[in-house]
Amino acid sequence: MARRRLGISAKTIGFNVVLLVVSVVLQLMVTDKISRAIASAKEQGRRIDRLNELNVIANKLAETRYWLSDVALTWDMSSIDKAKSAQKVLNAGFKSLSGVDPAAVSTTEKKIEALFDTTINAVTSFATGDKDGGAKMIKDARVINEDIDRMIAGIVASGTTKSGTAQASVGPPAPGTVAEINDANPTDQIVDTISAIQSVAAVSASITAFGLLLFCFVSQRSVVTPIREALKHLLEISKANFSASRSLAESSENLLNTTQDQAAAIEESVAAMTELKSMVSRTAESAQGTRESSDRVAMKTQSGLEAMGRMVTHMDVMDGAVADVINSMNDMERKTNQQLGSVAGIVDDVAEKAAIINNIVLKTQLLSFNASIEAARAGQHGRGFAVVAQEVGALSRIIGKAAQGINELVLKSKVDIKSVIDDMQQQISHSKTSVQKSKAIAKEAVAATHSSNEIFEAIALEMRDVKSKVAFVTDATIEQSKGLDQISLSMSDLQRATDKNSAASDKNRHLSDKLKQESDRLQSLGVAMGVLVEGSVNLRGMGRQVVTFVTPKASSLMDDLMKNAAPGEATAHSSEQVFESPTSPVLSAVATEDSAVNETIGEDVVTSLIQKIKTRGVPQDVKSSSEVDEHEKRSA
């Protein structure tokens, strides 16, 4: 409402300036004729009421036209009602007017109705873009207005028949026609005359204003309106262009930064991938080595198992052998005891025989002694026999000595045999205990061997399991390696794409900067043009801010305002405007330009980027989230 009032007041000021000029001219004219006016004041007084009536009609007609022109200028249909209410009063005025040709009145009313229709049609045509039709309507309206003027002149002429001719071009009755005033009170007449003069001046000013207004209206309809339309579009476009190009520049800057960060991240990823690949290949080598080791271990375990089997057999044999040894030792002990017993018996026999020999020796000795005695008794004849007896005695002594030796040997043998038997029994018992111990140890060894065998079998089973697992690991590592190769390829593709993106976004930024400059220039051009055309600029419909410039001097002020206000607005609303109103033609152009970039980056990434900017406003976070999005897109 405020801006409408401002607009109207601006127009009114324009009109008043024109009106003032016209009034000054009229005043000059009125001053020349004031003496005649005083003279005819009386007659004028009589006509006052009549003139008043006419004045009312003229005012109402002027009001009607004013509202219609307002309609034509502002396209505000609410003014139609005001025009119609003024028309009703006008019609009432016509009816109450006496001495007027009713046919002329009804024709005038019809013309006014036609003016209404034409004005509305013109407005409608302009609103629908039919400028030719509008212009034609405006022409019709002008013709109708001329007709109305003529008719009004006719009416006025018929209404004031006794006061001479009416001035057709001006409409109201000329001061020269006030000659028939004949009332007595000169003071009243003078006062009335002055007021009449004032009224006439006002009426003439109004009429002049109507003419000028009509001229303005027509010229506006035919020239200014299209320019204003174009200007309005221009300003809208430049405004939208300005904010969009600003947003685009910022977005391009962000995009460039993000793309560079992305490129760096991709390089790091590539390095990490290379490292991972080498690690995986090392893992594969280790897995291969583990498999070979496990194969060797499995072979060793198998041979160990076989060896253990043989060992078990041998241990069983050994166990039996130990039992055999014990048995044979028992046998040997028994046999040895028997043999030693028989040896002892033989020795005893020998001792017995030796005792017999000894006895024989004693007896032989006695015999030899007695023989010696008998030989001695025989004297000379017994001498030879004595020798024989001596020899026998000697022999018996030798035999006795031998028998004594035998006896000693037998005794010694007996002692030896006894000690031998004792030793042997000790040895055998010792051997027996040793063998018993050996048997116990052998039993333990057999048990240990059996348990070792079981353990080896368990190890062999486990090794089979380990082998299968290692094989699985090796296969998995090979698959991993293949997957990493593919990832590496994809990463290099990604790197190339990012490089392209980077170049594209850089170019984009340059273009958007240029676009911004161009839009700046366009906007200032449009504003300047608007000021030139209308003396003011209505930035209605260009965002939320409306700036109206009243005077041409405000141009520099407007420049300052554009510089200061637009960036703030862009900062506050650019992202929402850019991405939430895609119907904007500028934005669609921007989107077309950006489509090459968005192709690789993806619109959802950009959206999420904007979301991040809006929610956090920290570029690092945006970068990392976009990286995450990239990875997710790739892994998907």
Binding site: N358, S372, I373, A376, R377, G393, A394, R397, Q404, N407
Partner: protein
């Protein structure tokens, strides 16, 4: 094996050598004209000798039937092929050892008497020169039935006369005991 038998068997007693014993016999043969034969015996750790012809025979020890007597060296009597024979000792002798050793049987007026000795060693030949009759040395053997001494190696041998071993009264006493 008895101690006595062993001592007999052992030549050590007279020289511990076969050659020594042989020498005695050779010496006997060299001095054939003026040498006489003696029987060498062993008793109570000493060697004795007596003329060979004074001995009737040598027998093994016999079981002696002891007879109560005042004479300490009369052991008893025994039956020698039908003859009652008395057994005597030259020294104090343990009666429990009476039936051990050898019996030297010799003739007396009252019949044969047996001297119990530990062992009979050998028959030796001794010349009269080698027998020293004058030497008066202290001995377990009474001087009345001692002929003399001789030396054989390191051993001093006492030569005794068996006929003088028992006095007249002793013989009568023995005889009376024999008749009981």
């Amino acid at each position: 094996m008895s101690t006595v038998a062993r001592k007999i068997a052992e030549p050590k007693v007279v020289g511990d050598d076969d050659d020594e014993i042989k020498e005695w016999y050779e010496g006997d043969s060299e001095t054939a004209e003026d040498a006489a034969q003696y029987l060498l015996f062993f008793l109570d750790d000493s060697y004795f000798a007596t003329p060979l012809l004074s001995v009737r025979e040598v027998i093994e020890a016999q079981s002696v039937k002891s007879v109560p007597s005042s004479q300490s060296h009369f052991l008893g009597i025994f039956n020698l092929r039908g003859e009652i024979t008395g057994a005597v000792t030259m020294t104090e002798r343990d009666r429990s050892k009476a039936n051990q050793g050898r019996f030297l049987v010799f003739e007396t007026d009252i019949g044969p008497i047996a001297l119990v000795v530990d062992d009979v060693v050998a028959v030796i030949s001794l010349s009269d020169d080698s027998i020293d009759t004058k030497v008066n040395v202290k001995s377990k053997v009474q001087a009345r039935h001692r002929i003399g001494f001789t030396k054989l190696g390191d051993q001093l041998i006492t030569i005794v006369d068996l006929k003088k071993l028992l006095t007249e009264s002793e013989l009568i006493n023995i005889n009376s005991l024999k008749k009981k």
